[in-house]
Amino acid sequence: MKIEGKKAIWSEYQKEIADDHYFYVRSCIRQNFFPGSEVAFLKIMREELNKDIYEHPCHTTCSGIGYHGDVVPVETAMTVVARQFAMMTEAGYRNYIPSCITSFGLYTEILETWHHFPEVEKRIREQLWKATKREFVVPENLAHASDVIYKFRKEIVAKGKYKLVNKNTGEPLKVVDHIGCHYAKMFPSKGIGGAEYPYVLAGMVEEWGGKVIDYPERRHCCGFGFRQYLIQANRGFSIACSKEKFESMQPFKPDMIITNCPGCPMFLDRWQYVINEMEGKRYGQDGEGIPVFTYEEVAGLILGYNPWDLGLQMHQTDCEPVLDKIGIEYDPEEKHNTSIYNKKVEVHSSVNV
């Protein structure tokens, strides 16, 4: 096939991502389970890429987990989101960057609904005014935070200290990319590469020296399923989904998993621990688990950040096998030593003063 033909086919799967001046909204789940990732994202944007990115202290949850847990009605979720858009509008921004995939999916769903049903948008505007006396302009550009890292993946590796390459063999690390369902399954045109061949994480991995693994259950849900994890009685569903993925990827001998969703890295990390407890089975090489990373953690490692500043000590499945393969320097004593933490915080504080 001629290269022009390929470009034409892929053109509909490209996505416009703003270049600068972002309004950032946080993820409820990630703040609890991967706080270092959001910190790393802002550090990369501000200090490595010199971008303007703003966080409003009064923004809240988008209510997405409640919406998909079916306790929050659709018009309530829409109005909560409208309030977030009002925060962006009041702060003078137009480019909206959510940290969360559930949020990204909800924002996309709402903007599409308003596009097709303008009377719904009108009603939501009236409800927001009645409740808060706020008004809003819809974002000119909506992109997930992983879209932005994808956009600047070349700049990141150009500044990088490491690559996703085994230092002993020189071979690229074999990487499983796991995309959050609500990134593009609902609206394939809103994700880089669409829903069948999403490229947002694969593009990072390839640019950063790794090799992406294709395996049968690549697009299968991690198993969060909202109520299927939130309720203890339903968690069999959740772990069964993750197990199906592990069984499917294991023959391809992955070195690591990279994710862009709040829940996925937590479930893929924790369910490996539970499966090992229940069945004595591990899916990684040399009797280890398969380390699971967020894309910001991987970007941070490429840039040479301290793994314990990125929060890798919060993973249940140890990340050290990947650090060792790449040759990343780290102090094992620092991992769980909170007295060292306190000293570091004191140093940061004195520098900030």
């Binding site: 409820c28 789940i29 703040q31 609890n32 706080p35 270092g36 966080e55 202290p57 009064c58 809240t60 209510s63 997405g64 987990i65 409640g66 847990g69 079916d70 306790v71 929050v72 009605p73 659709v74 018009e75 309530t76 829409m78 109005t79 309030r83 049903f117 409800q127 409740a131 369902c181 609902m186 394939p188 829903a195 849900c221 198993g223 399923g225 909202f226 299927q228 939130l230 309720i231 009685a233 968690r235 069999g236 569903f237 772990i239 069964a240 989904c241 199906e244 924790r270 369910w271 621990y273 500043d309 929060g311 993973h315 249940q316 769980h336 909170t338 933490y341 306190n342 570091k344 940061h348």
Partner: protein, 235 residues
Amino acid sequence: MENYHDLLMQDIRFEEGLNACMNCGVCTAICPAAEFYDYDPRQIVDIVQSGDNDEIEKLLKSDVIWYCGECMSCKTRCPRGNAPGLVIMALRGLSQDLGFFVESEKGRQQLAIKRTVGESILNTGYCVYLDGIKPDLHPEQGPNWEWIYKNRTALLARLGGNYKGDGPGILRKIPEEALEELKRIFEVTGGKKRYDKIEFYSRKKAEELNLEFDEGIDNEYFRHIYKTNNGSHTK
């Protein structure tokens, strides 16, 4: 007897999610829930599309509509552009509005989601907040979570968080005025009404089942709905 199809049509997601299903079953083939549960989204869409009021009422009172994980894989693959997942969301909304959700084991779990995620939204401004993710309620989080939970203040300071602090940042305290706005939004848009209905019908069901019912999560009815699995849901 109310016409449930007409009521479903009032939900924008029903209008968005269902055009004309040709019953091909692609949604069921791709569905993670259909692999695990005794569940067939094709059949659900077929029943809803038929408009058979008795059959729709049975659905609204059944466990079946609560099996979906809302991953929306069905939306990607449907050749007609339908979204069975959105149809499910509309059915779940109606089941709660009519009080039918308490008639099934899985439906009754809605009180637990309201008491945890639902109340967290209004009380903290977050769907979940670290202090509530207690290790004894979450053994699947593993031993490292126990360490995280115990050392969360030092850990979040190390990682650059703003745990319970003012201003922007990780796990900051959401200002009271922002929480007040959320509460008003819930009052104006029907969110509070949904919460109240879940509480009202759950209390009635607890009386019927002769289980102690109280606020919070430390009561007999909450524990019952949170932990009970009669084992009849999977294939």
